[in-house]
Structures are given as C-alpha cells and as structure tokens.
C-alpha cells in the first residue's frame, strides 16, 4: 500500500469532499511527479515538442535555405552548428522543423488506434459471445502481420504521402489496442460491481459510461501511450523508405535517408536524425512506464 492512498483512518471526512472530484487523477499525477526517471523523460519530450511547435522562433536558420558553400558542413561550423546537409541546409533547423512531422506521424496513428481500437475492444469485451468472436478474430488477422511490414505494404499500395502513411499506421495500431481493451473490459465485466449494476436494470449504455469506462480507460490509455514509442519508429521507418512526407518538407526519417548518401563524408551528421527518433522513443517508453507505475494503486 502506497502512502498517498491511506487506510480508513487517515482520510478525514472534512478533507475528503474538497479533493473529491479528480482525486484519483491527482494521486496519479503526484506519484508520477515523484519518479525521477520518467519525469526527466517527460521534460525532454516537452522540450522537443515545444521546439517543434515554436520551430519558427527557435530554429537558427531557414530549414529550406540552401547554400552551396555549406554543403555537408561539419558539426560545429558557424551557422551550421550541427552540420549542413547535401544541399547546404542547416541540419539543426531541419531537425527542429522535422520534429513537427515526426511527432505528428507518431502520435496521430496511435490516437486513431485508441479511439477505433478502444471502441471495438470495449464493445467486444462487454458484449462477449458472437460479437466478441467476430471483432477479435478480425483483429487476429491483422495481428498475423508483423506491424512494420503491414504499415509498409498498405502505405506502399496507397502510394507515398503523409496522409496515406498516417492512415496505414493507424490501421496497424487498431488491433493491439483493441486486444488490450477487450481483455480489460472482459475482466471488469465479470466484477461484482458491474453485475450488481446490471441487476438494477440500468441500461447497457449507462453501465458502460459509469461503471466500465472509468475502470478500463486508465489501462487502455497507458497501453496506447506505450505504443507511441513503437509508432515513432515505424513512422520514421516509412519516411525513411520514402513513403511518408515528400521533399522539400522533411521529417527525421526522410532526413536520415537523405543524409545516408553522404555517410562517407560526414558520418556523424548522418546519425543525428536517428538519434532524435531513438531519444523520443525511449522517452515515450519511460513516460508511459512511469504513468503505469503511478497508476498501480495496490488494494
């Protein structure tokens, strides 16, 4: 039992109503803030995201401005602090701007997967029986493909482009989230408090809204957030193959692919975009892990 959720004696009736409404959320937040590693990861992600959002104010140079003299400039060159790319554009500025598309491509598909997969999973879990069979067997089919392979194939069939890539990735994240949602919902459905609610004769919609969703939302959200760390790798992978954003716009995956051509001249500049993908993926993973641990309220 963690200290923040005290036993019967520690919560004073006079105190309880003041913090009642979002007390669970508050407790989780407080416990998250106390974990040093996930907090650091969260701060790093925040910095990366803010930099991407306010790229126009932060980036030292125009990411599209080519300069022949600065072609493949080394790290530390004035005006090209993190080097220049094959057209002499500033790599640092392009990394900052590229974050916009990389992060959007990582987060949007998981958000779609969360809504569609979450809906399907909760439906399958609560309905059980044939509905469950139909939905979950369909999910199994998509599960039969390795996720990156499926994303590549669908994006490849649809043709290159940002929207198509996001669509393909969304399809990849629906089945795992649906599976997770189905398994927690099936479990919650068997709990006595849900059975008691059914016995009152309340409508299914009301039971789902008031009893089921509040208890399954947390685990599903945490699982979905853990998928962002997978998504950013897959999304950048699509761009790396040329299936994502099209030039002159760029994200980290496409930058990695372009800088790879100059690997013999400027090897470490070529590694930079990959380092950003790695950093963000690790941070998303650590944050989601931290939230999960903060949510583990032992009875």
């Amino acid at each position: 039992m963690h200290g923040t959720l005290g036993g019967p004696a520690t919560i004073d009736a006079a105190v309880a109503p003041a913090v009642r409404h979002n007390r669970y959320a508050t407790v989780v937040l407080l416990r998250f803030l106390r974990q040093p590693v996930p907090m650091t990861a969260a701060v790093i992600l925040l910095v990366v995201m803010l930099a991407a959002i306010f790229a126009g104010f932060i980036a030292p140079a125009d990411p599209f401005q080519t300069r022949v003299a600065r072609r493949l400039a080394e790290i530390g060159t004035p005006g090209r602090w993190l080097g220049g790319d094959e057209l002499g554009r500033d790599v640092l500025s392009r990394l900052i701007y590229g974050g916009r598309i990389s992060l959007a491509m990582a987060i949007l598909p998981v958000a779609v997967g969360l809504f569609v997969g979450g809906f399907l999973g909760v439906l399958a879990g609560y309905a059980g029986g044939r509905t469950n069979m139909a939905i979950m067997r369909a999910m199994d089919v998509f599960y039969a493909f390795p996720s990156i392979l499926l994303a590549v194939a669908i994006a490849g069939a649809l043709g290159p482009g940002l929207v198509n890539a996001i669509l393909a990735l969304s399809l990849v994240f629906i089945p795992p989230i649906a599976r997770m949602a189905e398994s927690v919902t099936t479990q919650v459905r068997s709990y006595e408090y849900v059975i008691a609610a059914r016995l009152t004769g309340a409508s299914t919609l009301r039971i789902l809204r008031e009893h089921v969703l509040s208890n399954v939302a947390g685990p599903i959200l945490v699982f979905a957030s853990s998928q962002v760390s997978v998504s950013i790798i897959a999304a950048s992978g699509l761009s790396f193959l040329g299936l994502g954003v099209s030039p002159p716009n760029s994200d980290w995956g496409l930058m990695l692919s372009a800088l790879r051509q100059s690997i013999y001249i400027n090897p470490w500049v070529a590694a930079l975009p990959g380092a950003m993908i790695f950093l963000c993926s690790v941070c998303f993973n650590l944050v989601s892990d931290g939230v999960r641990q903060a949510m583990e309220v032992r009875r």
Partner: protein
C-alpha cells in the same frame, strides 16, 4: 495433445484466409484502375483484355478474390511489371537471401539472448545483469534502420573492416558459405539480431528470476540437489515463455527486414517489397506480402505448438 494440435491447426485456417483477403485488398485500395496497376504502362489493349479475362476483373469482387486465391494456391502470383518475370520466381529468389539473414540473425539473437538472460537472472544485480538491463530498456526503442547505419559508420566508414552493401563481392552468382560472403553477412546480421536479442534476454531473465523465487527451488536446494540439476529445473520452467517470445521476435525480424535490407541493399524479400513499392509493381508487392504473411502465420502456429509441447499447462487450459 493431438486434439490440441488439430484444434490449433483448424484455428489457423480462418486466420490464413483472412490474411489472404487483406493481401488481396492491397491492390484494390491502390488508387486507379486495378488493371492498369497490374500491367505495365505500355500494355496493349489486347493485353488489357486478356488480363481482365484472366483475373475476372469485370466480375464481382468475391469472384475476383476466389480466382486470385485459386491462382495463388497453385503458385501463380502473376507477373512482375518491373521485370516481366513471374512474381513467384522473383519472390523465391529473394526468400533464399532472407532465409540466410533470418537464420543467422535468429541463431545469434536466440543463443546470445538466452545465455545473457540466464546469466543476468542467475547473477542478479551483477555486471551482466545491469548491462542486459540497460540494453533491454533502450533496445525496444532502438530504430533498427538507424542501428544499421551506425554499424556501417563504425565498421565500414571509420574502421573499413566490413563491406557496407550487398550479399557478396559479386552479385551475379548465388550465395556461398565462404569468407567473402560471410563478411557481407556480419553487419546485416548484427543489425537484425540486436533488438530481438535484447527482448529475448529480458524475457529469459524475468523467467529465471521468477522461477528462482518460487518455493519449489528452495525445496530442491534443501533436498541437496546439485546446482547443475537445479539449473535444469530453472531452465525448464523459464523456457516456454522465452520460446514464445523468440517466435514473435522472429516474426518481427521479418517485418523489420524491409528497412534493414534496404540499408544494406540485401536482395531479400524486404528489399524486393521496397523496390516493388517504388516501381508501383503491385503484383510483386502483393505476392511478396502473401508469402511473408503466410510464413508469419505458419511461424505463429509452430510457436504455439512448440510452446504447448514444453508447457503442459497450455494444453489443459
């Protein structure tokens, strides 16, 4: 046990059919007329008519699917637009290269992952445990295509030890198990094996730690069983989960092969898939996907059966 095998086999059938349906749909979600996607641009009106008839493209979709499935079942995957050769031949040639890479990476990741995980679990909080821990935390977040580039930077660019591209010194003839070809295999193998190895090591470590904490190990120790025999009990109990994870990781390796093979210009199925996409060669894309996905379904089946053979609890539940 036999009943379980039969049931599991029967369960794989609808999944496999569903997979073929998804692969079939790939051509139909592509923008444009599927017939123009299936034939080269310079195709004559005569060729178009013939293809329409052969694939029944003027008939309803379910009929088209049935025709396509019938063709696929006898190994007719259509003709590649890029090369004009049968897709089946192209895929077969690529499969050989992918299998070489998959086997070497699979062996490396399973053996090393297994041993590292076991040592880490047995010597908890030792040096290897900490290293494995660090590696597994970052391993799942490591973009493997980036790792491949890093390996090329270090071993090809900086050290000039190993070649960065291709299967061998000359691409004309097939793969041979000689040093010239093995040199080319090392970097792709490392790039492919690293992440599965991390995951397998983590699973094995967790399994070993879990088993060591159980009461029956204490009983065995108290009985005076020699450590070697106790180790056997530990491995046996940690094995089923690790095997399942190994299987899944092999599947993911296949998925990741698209990117790793692209980086190393390794002419396997992943490379084939990528080039099919760039040449808008939809028959080739479809055929390659079908073979890969079927292999993945088969792999899952094998994993389940092997796991149930090593873990009696699964058969009974």
């Amino acid at each position: 046990m036999l009943l379980y095998v039969v049931r599991r086999l029967l369960y794989a059938v609808p999944i496999a059919l569903g997979v073929t349906l998804v692969v079939f749909s790939l051509v139909h979600i592509a923008p444009g007329d599927p017939i123009s996607a299936l034939l080269p641009n310079e195709a004559t009106e005569e060729m178009l008519q013939q293809a329409r008839k052969e694939f029944g493209l003027d008939r309803p979709l379910p009929v088209q699917y049935a025709i396509w499935l019938g063709h696929a079942a006898v190994g007719n995957l259509g003709v590649s637009i890029g090369s004009g050769r049968p897709v089946a031949d192209e895929v077969a040639a690529a499969v050989v290269n992918t299998v070489i890479l998959a086997v070497s990476a699979g062996l490396l990741s399973c053996l090393l992952g297994f041993v590292l995980g076991m040592v880490a679990g047995l010597r908890r909080d030792g040096l290897i445990d900490h290293l494995v821990n660090l590696f597994t935390i970052s391993g799942v977040s490591l973009p493997h295509y980036w790792l491949a580039i890093l390996l090329v930077i270090v071993f090809s660019v900086n050290l000039s030890w190993l070649p960065p591209l291709g299967v061998g010194p000359d691409t004309s003839d097939g793969w041979r198990p000689d040093w010239a070809h093995l040199r080319h295999l090392i970097l792709p193998t490392l790039a492919t094996a690293a992440i599965p190895m991390a995951v397998i090591a983590r699973t094995m470590r967790a399994g070993v730690v879990d088993v060591l904490d159980q009461d029956f190990i204490g009983t065995l120790r108290a009985k005076g069983l020699p450590p070697r025999r106790i180790l056997w009990h530990v491995v046996r109990n940690a094995l089923p989960t690790t095997l399942a994870v190994m299987g899944l990781q092999l599947g993911n390796m296949l998925g990741g092969s698209v990117l790793v093979e692209t980086v190393f210009a390794w002419p396997g199925t992943g490379f084939l898939l990528a080039s099919a996409i760039f040449q808008r060669d939809l028959p080739l894309l479809q055929g390659t996907m079908l073979v890969l996905a079927m292999f993945f379904v088969f792999l899952n089946l094998i994993v389940d059966l092997v796991q149930s053979a090593t873990d009696p609890r699964i058969r009974r539940s």
